[in-house]
Symmetry: C2
Subunit: 423 residues, 2 copies
């Protein structure tokens, strides 16, 4: 303990005060550790309440149109010169009146479209924060274990910023996600196994001398990385005119995103940037990988690992690190968690596309399909304003779909006539 | 003529004053025609110079973070309630220092990344303007002939805004572009022929009774549609701090985008929003479809149609409507036009990706490869600031690439060791 507390911190002055264990509350300095030295629990960034409390709406609104407008609420990146980033964030919050009508809502439904980020998923938020922290902490190269989107984002960030990257993915990922990492020129390591296997391997690799100076964005700098997801919650509140939505639907892979959006909402209330109001957090999983939904259904606090299957590959984490914390946030706020089949996922993608013009990847299809399911079961209230997160881009998972043209003709009026396009 | 001049105009008050023939200068009211009734020349929107001259930087900067901040310089959309849009534009202008270094530039190089638009190409700009005009003119449904990106954008705009869309594409398009239209639920008509064949067919169809109330965005409302591309030029100038870049490299399909960026620069000087300065416009085509580059090389004013081949499908227009005007803009400003092979296009995509983190579709690869070629030939000056337009998204054309992982291993340290990842 003493050695850790005495270790130098390379993070520049920020509102972050320490790393705090989520289990036992032990505190550690802002260094590159992610597990508690006392109890092995996960560490989270803690902030100086006095510094957070001084942040104003005006200060944020005067910032750039990206995640760094919230740098006063993040552990790193206060000085623009320190950022290792693609400047993600401030993605559109789209009012989805046609979707709301189709689902029978009387209240507004909004789609927060994170496919508008630079590499077209919410992962750009966490990677920008992780790599900024990594540089501050003196790491020389970057790596990750990924279900695809994280790999795309790490490889692109490394390319823009001239860093060496090593990216580990399951070898059965969608071609779009493989190409969209390879094109940036990282060491791209395809592992014949599940994401959980990849994750275990990289946990071992980071202990080796060869990776001593490598930041594994979702492992040895995970506490910083995870904070990036808070910006999604901040943006929803700001874009609604500085208030919280009564209901929000969020996909669950590791569970980190869900817990961080909930944390962002709590912080905004605590520091007075939004009026106090109740919100319910709803979680979305696929039937092929529903360990958190299953624990929710069974009233368990512990998440039983599963072997993932199905088309929602970016959510296929069978042993979700933040599963218990996601369960807690959902239960505490009075929400629910549900899972949907591959066919329902495809229908969710199509429903969102034809009512909003947003083309989501399979994870977004999961979220929309769960919205539909929970509306139909009455667990989501049609009379309460609802925000749905689309975390990724449909172009990355076209293999999961089977849609094509409605007519095929020759370039002639005769052929157009035979096809019924013209009389 | 009299009947046309007397026709009612449904466009709300705007700085646009008339449609003017680019060939003979004849003027027409702001209705749905695209060819001159006198000489069959193409029509372009003309503006009231007094209204344009009153526009200020402050007025623009106070607008939304999308194309509509320039509505005072566009024919339609002044009243937000009239817009039929996905709110595209204000995409990133990325300083590309690593690309500049690799090409030996001493001056800054910038990438204007229009893959950040809602459907990930610059076409969202023209479609938003076209459909806003179409609604103003009383059309009830929308259609287009497309090489892919336009189809994606029209289908998505129609979905968000609840319009019926009919989209015509060549049947040999990339799967990404076909799925990304089909998912929005339009009538998607695959035509066994080239884009030029599709274009001829839709020209005939729009004369039929069945399509009487249909706006073909790039045909019967083309003069409005084309104006949307001006916003790309406005944004580059504003993002550079209200000044023009000395050199800009633009892909040529129909040639419309290039001519409109040049028009935008001219307008900004004329109305005093930027200081007067010289700029050179460079055009980029693929070797598989280089009718404008060929005319440039041969010193011709007329563009000889070709039968397109090659991977840059979004640029595969063999008979480019605005080819002569693109030639004129390039020659007048002292630029050049070049073409590049499919292998050079692939290298251009990789070069851009590994130096900037931007993953461009084949059209962007064409532009970067032409930049490289013209730098090496000395026609582009390494000592002059240069902007390169990336008009579309790499995820739409992954079939053209053959990149994959660099290592494939089992999930074990032993396997990682054998692959040389760890010692």
């Amino acid at each position: 303990m003493t050695s850790l507390l005495d270790a130098p911190t390379a993070i520049p002055p920020s509102p972050a005060s320490s790393l705090r264990c989520r289990n036992c509350g032990a505190e550690f300095p802002l260094i590159a550790i992610h597990a508690c030295a006392e109890c092995f629990g996960p560490l989270e960034v803690a902030y100086d309440p006095a510094i957070l409390g001084a942040v104003t709406r005006e200060q944020i609104e005067a910032g750039p149109q990206n995640i760094w407008r919230y740098s006063a609420l993040l552990p790193v990146g206060q000085d623009p010169a320190t950022r290792v980033t693609l400047d993600p964030g401030f993605t559109p919050l789209i009012r989805a009146d046609r979707l709301a009508a189709e689902l029978g809502f009387t209240a507004p439904v909004w789609v927060k479209d994170d496919s508008a980020n630079p590499t077209h998923s919410f992962k750009d938020r966490v990677v920008s924060v992780a790599l900024t922290a990594a540089r501050g902490l003196g790491f020389e190269s970057v790596a990750c274990a990924s279900t695809g989107n994280l790999a795309n984002s790490v490889a692109a960030h490394a390319a823009r910023n001239g860093l060496q990257a090593t990216v580990f993915i399951p070898s059965d990922l969608e071609p779009g996600k493989i190409v969209n990492s390879a094109i940036y020129g990282p060491r791209l390591v395809a592992v014949d196994g599940s994401y959980d296997d990849v994750n275990r391997l990289t946990s071992e690799l980071q202990e080796s001398d060869d990776f001593e100076s490598t930041a594994f964005v979702n492992q040895n700098v995970r506490p910083y990385y995870a904070e990036g997801s808070k910006t999604l919650g901040y943006e929803v509140a700001e874009q609604l005119g500085w208030r919280l939505p009564p209901q929000v639907v969020i996909p669950i892979a590791s569970g980190s995103l869900l817990t961080k959006v909930d944390k962002a909402f709590s912080e905004l209330v605590k520091i007075g940037l939004v009026p106090e109001s109740d919100w319910k957090v709803f979680g979305a999983q696929s039937a092929g990988c529903s360990p958190v939904a299953t624990a929710f259904d069974n009233g368990h606090d512990v998440v039983q690992p599963v072997k993932p299957t199905g088309i929602a590959k970016s959510l296929n984490i069978g042993n979700p690190a933040d599963g218990p914390y996601a369960l807690d946030a959902v239960r505490r706020t009075g929400g629910a968690i549900a899972s949907v089949t591959d066919d329902e996922i495809r229908e969710g993608i199509a429903l969102l596309a034809r009512t909003t013009g947003v083309f989501a990847e399979t994870a977004g299809g999961v979220t929309v399909a769960v919205l539909k399911k929970l509306v139909e079961s009455g667990q989501i209230d049609r009379n309460a304003e609802t925000v749905v997160l689309n975390t990724g881009e449909g172009l990355k998972t076209i293999d999961a779909l089977s849609v094509s043209w409605t007519h095929r003709i020759d370039p002639s009026l005769k052929s157009a006539r035979e096809a019924g396009l013209v009389s």
